[in-house]
Amino acid sequence: MVSDHALLQITGLHKSYRARERSVDVLTAIDLSVRDGEFATVVGTSGCGKTTLLKIVAGLVPATSGEVLFDGSPVTGPPPGLGVVFQEYGRSLFPWKTVRQNVELPLRRNGSSRAQRRGTVDEALDAVGLGKAADAYPWQLSGGMQQRVAIARAVAYRPRLLLMDEPFSAVDAQTRGDLEDLVAGLRRRFRMTVLFVTHDIDEAVYLGDRVIVLGASVSGVQADIPVTLPADRDQITTRSSADFGRLRAEVWAQVRRTPLEKA
């Protein structure tokens, strides 16, 4: 399922913001690639620039220097074939549009017929278990369901690369588990490539084929850990397996190591 083709290739990425006369480095010397079909998770302590990294990849924020290649072309603005799911589902969905209209909105561009679009939207809504809520408004749904709408919108768009920015941070633990399994299933079903940012180490290990640890305060990619767990994962058995425990300890150690090394 994972090919050798690097869909996303980041080389020497650097980002700094100017704040009152001095510039603050947010990301330095990031080298990273995501292969076609891969599920890569990015973890790091808060303030390490995870979200900035994702926004640069999405073409929403310009890099200060370095190169981001998406499918071989440099990213200068939002590239075609990119889906996003943000943490703030309530602000990412358009409240005056129904669930169906929200999911359909990005599809209008690609020249498909109305009937085709309707089919695509229905399929995506069914895939996230919201087939019956198509005509509701986002604000009539629970937080977890709203995030499902955002996921359905991304799935219906058929992105080459799906970017997810801490998508489950704002929902309760059980909903979170359900949504993790939903995304894992959708990724297999639609063969999606995913770059998933989270601050939750367990989530990163549970979902990823690879866990990329960003160093705290400007030290590039701290570690790149392959997740050697079977493809079929389960909230109960996977999370209680010895391999899972070993991996999460390894990631933890890497996340922890950063500030000590700097001191």
Binding site: L60, P80, F86, R91, L105, R109, Y137, W139, Q140
Partner: protein, 254 residues
């Protein structure tokens, strides 16, 4: 139902009090309400309706529509681009405090006494609250919503439409103010320079000592304003249904 009862109770009491208190009035300037009511029927359910009420409403509608289109258009530009905001801020601050009726003598000389002058006065006064609230609304549209639209590469036109739609709660608040201003300016402009219309008629009756008729005109202007405000509320409730849901307020009763 109970709310409707409460809303009607006080007006009914006040009208009844007025009716009873003025019944024996011999004061020429405060005739009995009964006389005013009779005059109301005689004056307004006649040729005057088409001759004076409809032209007034037409000018009001035209002025308000122009204010709405211009205010939303310019307000969008000012709210969307910081450069536009910085460039226009002092000018907007100046015109916003300039009372629209001062335009009347100027326009009277420049344009003449026709409908155009009155429509321009209404539009020139009503445009500001719409313009400023549109600019506020557009500049405050949620960043996540805008990033979502950008990441999914929505066409520019769609993204602008989304910005305006997201700003409708603010635009609507400005438009409500503008509607009130429009009615004031309609009456004032007709009082000062007109040969027909509600404002003209009231002044005309006053000058010819047709006091009950004058009173009936005042009542009619009040009623027109009330009906327009209610119509506005009806439209607003439809357009902003999502906003009340989104911000967690229930359906409000009138």
């Amino acid at each position: 139902m109970k709310a409707v009862g409460y809303a009607l109770a006080l007006p009914v009491i006040l009208l009844t009090t007025w009716w009873v208190a003025s019944a024996e009035s011999t004061n020429v300037f405060a005739p009995p309400l009964r006389t005013i009511a009779e005059a109301f029927g005689d004056v307004w359910f006649s040729g005057r309706f088409t001759r004076d009420v409809l032209p007034s409403l037409g000018r009001l509608a035209a002025g308000f529509a122009i204010a709405l289109a211009a205010g939303m258009g310019v307000g969008f530009v000012v709210g969307r681009w910081k450069l536009a905001r910085d460039l226009t801020a002092p000018i907007l601050a100046f015109f916003r405090v300039l009372p629209a009726p001062v335009l009347i003598p100027v326009l009277l000389v420049a344009v003449g006494i026709g409908d155009t002058t009155k429509i321009v006065v209404i539009a020139a006064g009503a445009v500001w609250p719409i313009l400023l609230s549109t600019a506020d609304g557009v500049s405050a549209v949620d960043e996540v919503a805008q990033e979502t639209a950008a990441a999914y590469r929505l066409p520019t036109r769609t993204r602008y439409a989304l910005l305006l739609r997201a700003a409708t709660p603010q635009i609507s608040a400005g438009a409500r103010q503008a509607l009130g201003l429009s009615i004031i300016l309609m009456v004032v402009s007709e009082m000062l320079m007109s040969t027909d219309g509600l404002g003209f008629t009231v002044v005309q009756f006053q000058r010819s000592f047709a006091i009950p008729q004058m009173w009936s005109g005042v009542l009619l202007i009040g009623i027109v304003g009330f009906i327009l405000a209610k119509l506005f509320e009806l439209v607003e409730r439809r357009v902003l249904r999502w906003h009340r849901g989104h911000t967690g307020q229930g359906e409000q009763s009138w």
